[in-house]
């Protein structure tokens, strides 16, 4: 049993074959789906065929409304994430630097973090109506916590030996911060950024679906009320592609920025 598996594994490691297998699998699943749809095993008014979704997707991508909605969604996602980073990372780094501050805030932040940001949708709607501001408030309230926690952990877990060494060489506070604390905290902060980015996209689209603020989510809600099911699926697929793109770009940025760090070295497997 092991021999074919090992062979396949080696083929996968070479890289060339693996990509082909993946493409074939995706095509196979799409073909099976199409087959199920055309034979009527999947009702078209519930789950449309991939061909229908594809046709609808081309139509959606061809119109200006989609790009406008995408722009609005991306704008509030990026702005919200940026504001959260500017707020949470410096505060988190400062709080993590002091043992007293770290322990004082731990419970409070842990509690606030567990409140689902969705709970604030009604309040945000009340205060701002269905606007970009409303989305921003929600995104910031949701994305701030992972960033804050990760920055705090990052500073808190700086290697004690490294810290003491820097101190015994009489490096000043600023030098220590710049060469010891920030580099060791950076991977933690980056993990926070990745979690916050996913969270921000989820909340942006959620605020649009529920609150009706203009964007991809509102377009989905519209397609649903119009019972334009292929269009709805096409929009959802587009938002998934957006999610994949955001993940890929962030992973690439992380690899480049943190290329010197242990966690990014290839030997880890």
């Amino acid at each position: 049993m092991t021999a074919p598996g090992a062979l396949l594994r080696r083929a996968g490691a070479r890289g060339g074959g693996a990509g082909g297998v993946k493409v074939l699998t995706v095509l196979g699943v799409l073909a099976l789906w199409q087959l199920l749809s055309s034979t009527g095993a999947l009702a078209a008014d519930v789950i449309p065929s991939p061909a229908a979704i594809g046709v609808s997707l081309v139509g959606v991508l061809g119109g200006p409304e989609f790009w406008q909605a995408l722009g609005l969604t991306l704008l509030s996602w990026a702005l919200g994430l940026l504001v959260s980073i500017c707020l949470a990372v410096p505060v988190g780094l400062l709080l993590g630097a002091s043992e007293l501050a770290y322990r004082s805030c731990r419970f409070t932040i842990d509690f606030l973090r567990t409140i689902p940001p969705v709970a604030l949708v009604p309040l945000a709607l009340l205060l701002y109506g269905a606007t970009t501001q409303m989305k921003l408030v929600l995104v910031v309230l949701g994305a701030v916590w992972p960033l804050l926690l990760q920055s705090m952990y990052g500073v808190h877990q700086v290697d004690l030996v490294a810290r003491e060494t820097a101190r015994s060489y009489r490096l000043g506070r600023w030098l220590r911060t710049a060469f010891v604390v920030l580099p060791s905290a950076a991977p933690f902060v980056f993990t926070g950024v990745r979690i916050a980015a996913t969270m921000a996209l989820l909340l942006t689209i959620g605020a649009e679906v529920i609150g009706g603020a203009p964007g991809l989510g509102a377009a989905m809600a519209l397609a649903q009320t119009a019972s334009d099911i292929p269009r709805l699926f096409a929009l959802v697929a587009a938002s998934a592609v957006l999610g994949v793109l955001i993940n890929t770009v962030l992973a690439r940025v992380e690899r480049r920025v943190l290329s010197w760090h242990v966690s990014q070295r290839p030997s880890r497997g």
């Binding site: 594994r9 322990r103 805030c105 409070t108 009604p122 989510g217 938002s239 998934a240």
Partner: protein, 268 residues
Amino acid sequence: MARVAATFAWLTGRRLAGIAVELWLPILLFAGWWVASSGSASLYFVGLDSILGALRDDWLGEAGAANVLPSLRNLAEGFLLAAFIGVVLGTVLGLVRPLGNAVSPIVEFLRSVPGVALLPIGLLIFGIGSEMKVSLIAYGSVWPILLNTIDGVRSVDAIKLDVLRSYRVPAHLRILGVVLPSAAPRIMVGLRTSLSIAITIIVFSEMIGSTDGIGYAILQAQRNFEIPQMWAGMLALGVIGYLLNIGFRGVEQLVLRRHRAMNTTPGS
């Protein structure tokens, strides 16, 4: 007497100081909120005393149970479904590497669908009801469990597996006795991530397609301009979220204690 003293010994000195350090800020914030909001004339930021009054009336006792229980039931069903599917599928995809690699683009794509984007589709397929909510929760929270299970299963010591195989230990015993326990820490990480996703999705789905539950109650309060009730609901949701997390941490410690006890062999 001595026994009583021993029981409370942990409360003395440093422990007490430690608890005080953790608690002064929340208490101060709460007091600050109370003072700042008392006699507040603002329509939206109402006094904390009226919020607590609404909390007592709406979220404790029978009224609270009527709001909270449907949410918790849907949450539990969806989460357990996701855990079951995620662990089973993750074990298969992790053990059969070629299969896992082949379907990885599909998993990556499906996992990137923002859970809330599925709300309109869920409404179309299932309409309003707990079926829709349970399946949305299951879909949204299955991915962290699945991916972490795959990683956990793949990182099981290959030598251990080979030894088991050469002793001809049957596959189901290998999986239940060795593979899953070694993957347990990663699986728990996935479950914890999924829990917060599940809480978010349940509230979301109750705000749109529902006639009961926490999310419905909060949004309804806002629509009727019952602002203290709305705040009380948000507060209650925070407490419930926190309690669920504490509960999960307890389960995690229980599971992982077994794991640690099992893996404390010399040299590891």
